[in-house]
């Protein structure tokens, strides 16, 4: 998924190379953390991983609301997605009724990274 931007200044990488996170659930509500791997990458996350972008990434689950909480002291964001668990652990027909795997859907979002910050990314370049 790594592609070189036409102007040569940015690369586009999957979010999981710049951040990590975990999913939690309560009822039909999912929360997904997005935590910067490095302080230099943090502003990119805040700028690009917006509630609107996350709602688009989860459009097939039709969230009724996506809230984003920004925590600069942790360099982390918490996304709260309502009504994305097909009813939640007791109601959904999904195999993963908790939505435990949803952090990997969020962390698949594309992130534009200046080439100068490439060395801050985690994992192999081809990842």
């Amino acid at each position: 998924m790594n592609t070189i931007d036409p102007d040569g200044a940015d690369i586009v990488v999957p979010l999981y190379r710049a951040a990590h996170g975990r999913t939690g659930d309560k009822g039909d509500r999912s929360n997904i953390s997005v935590i910067a791997w490095h302080a230099d990458l943090w502003p990119l996350l805040v700028e690009q991983i917006t509630p609107e972008a996350v709602a688009t990434q989860f459009r097939h689950r039709a969230p009724s609301r996506v809230q984003r909480f920004v925590m600069p002291t942790l360099q982390a964001m918490n996304f709260v997605l309502d009504a994305v668990l097909d009813g939640g652990v007791n109601d959904a027909r999904n195999l993963d009724t908790h939505g435990k795997s949803l952090s990997f859907l969020l962390l698949d979002m594309p992130l534009r990274v200046p080439t100068a910050l490439r060395h801050r990314l985690v994992g192999p370049d081809a990842g």
């Binding site: 929360n31 909480f69 009813g87």
Partner: protein, 476 residues
């Protein structure tokens, strides 16, 4: 930023280890947690001038087991219906047997919600276990008040939920109660506190309240201790469990991953470490992931004890596998308890069949089409495991938007719910019939039919739910 400077006259800090993060967690992990607690406590001071009328000393450290998830309690209630002596954590014996003697000998208290739907029966089991191990009978307290399933609470629940309650077959109704009765039980001399539904962090806050003598409205301290409890309550999840992602997040020794130990000071601040001689690690990344786990608004993490606030929290490494949490605040607790009401929800029918080799995905998709035609009374969820499944949705939007990619190893899974068992059963019969009537080469049919439990939540005023504890002394 809001943390007070360390005071010059500090009470000794409190060690709390966690040896289970859910019902079904590993049962061979508590020994390393207890060994680490005992090593850090040092030898027990010899009893001086022992006065038989003096109140028993508080435990010097604590071991907690968190074993109740949202649906665990309803399942426990069903077991209790079938057997009045059941309904507590089925792994209780396996969890406690390896460590009970050492905990009692070294003054390590035990606090857990492993009482589930039947804390008294759990306490009787522990007394039997102690006898079997030739130990003196431990002082066990059971918490009371969380179980609202008795008919006497029906009017209260109807008032909060509405008339729909009358149409439901209630399985369980439990309030998430808090740390105060745990602390009271410990002050009264309990060595072991057996709870049913308490808020997970309260398993930590209760011992801290008793140990430091905090008031129930010391919000800042309760807020900090609550987040210590939050970091502990999922066991290995703060020690490298549920974290590994090869090539990106490599974790050493995951097969022997350690369990967490929090050191809590008199202000409620905590440092998280882990059991000695185990795998995994505790670092900024593992602590941040767990800190935000199941949190919604970070400025308002609601528990029965306090509204904890991590909006300006920070973490820092203070040693090998040691991370300090700072900047946590606390605000006045909610006026209401959260109550989960579980009720019977009909039947979940599931069926699976596999296709492999050339055009496997196409054959699986055809099988799904056949099932949709054959089962018009059921709203089918369709998964093509190996192609599109886990991240998809019950309505089938993602599946419909995903073209056949020619996957060569696909397991078709279909699932549906229905209130009528006879209708639900037709799903399994139709999946099985694919053996002879479906596409070529289908194999490995597995079908199941499971009673469903659904949950409704409501809030009830605290004063409508009397809570307390009772010391259990009699042997079974």
């Amino acid at each position: 930023m809001t943390d007070p400077a360390p005071s010059t006259v500090t009470a000794p800090s409190l060690l709390i280890g966690c040896a289970a993060g859910f019902s079904g967690d590993r049962t061979d992990v508590a020994a390393a947690v207890v060994d680490t607690l005992i090593a850090r406590l040092g030898p027990i001071a010899p009893a001086t001038g022992s006065d038989p009328t003096a109140p028993p000393a508080l435990p010097r450290a604590f071991l907690i087991f968190e074993t109740l998830a949202e649906r665990t309690l309803a399942l426990a209630q069903l077991r209790r219906r079938a057997d009045p002596e059941a309904g507590y954590e089925p792994l209780l014996d396996l969890m406690l047997r390896p460590v009970l003697a050492r905990c009692l000998a070294h003054g390590v208290g035990i606090v857990s919600n492993f009482g589930a739907a039947n804390p008294r029966a759990a306490a009787r089991h522990i007394l039997r276990l102690a006898r079997e191990l030739d130990l003196p009978a431990p002082r066990i307290a059971v918490l009371e008040g969380d179980d609202l399933s008795a008919p006497g609470f029906r009017d209260l629940l109807r008032e909060r939920i509405g008339a729909t309650l009358d149409d439901l077959r209630i399985v369980s109704a439990n309030a998430y109660i808090g740390a105060e009765p745990i602390a009271a039980a410990l002050r009264a001399g309990a060595q072991i506190v057996v709870c049913g539904r308490v808020a997970d962090p309260s398993l930590t806050v209760g011992p801290a309240m008793a140990h430091f003598g905090w008031a129930a409205d010391d919000w800042e301290k309760l807020g900090r201790a609550t987040m210590a409890g939050h970091l502990l309550e999922c066991g290995a999840q703060v020690c490298g469990g549920y974290f590994a992602d090869p090539g990106f997040k490599d974790v050493p020794g995951l097969d022997q991953v350690g369990f967490p130990i929090a050191e809590i000071d008199a202000e409620g601040r905590c440092t998280i470490g882990k059991s000695e001689g185990t795998g995994g690690f505790v670092n900024e990344a593992t602590v941040k992931e767990q800190l935000l786990y199941e949190v919604h608004d970070p400025a308002a993490y609601l528990t029965p004890d306090v509204v904890a606030d991590i909006a300006e929290a920070s973490v820092s490494v203070v040693g090998a596998d040691r991370v300090a949490l700072a900047g946590v605040r606390g605000h006045a607790r909610p006026t209401h308890y959260k109550v989960n009401v579980c009720h019977e929800g009909g039947w979940l029918a599931e069926g699976e069949i596999s296709y492999a080799g050339a055009r496997a995905e196409g054959r699986a998709r055809l099988a799904a089409d056949v099932l949709r035609e054959r089962l018009p009374a059921l709203d089918l969820r369709v998964d093509l495991i190996g192609a599109v499944s886990i991240l998809a949705d019950d309505t089938g939007r993602m599946l419909a938007a995903t073209p056949d990619a020619g996957v060569r190893d696909v397991r078709l899974r279909v699932a549906a719910t229905h209130h009528d068992r006879a209708v639900a059963e037709t799903l399994g019969r139709e999946v099985t019939a694919l053996y002879t009537c479906g596409p070529a080469g289908g194999g490995g049919v597995r079908c199941s039919l499971t009673p469903r439990l659904n949950t409704i939540s409501c809030l009830v005023p605290r004063d409508a739910v009397p809570v307390g504890f009772e010391m259990i002394r009699e042997a079974a």
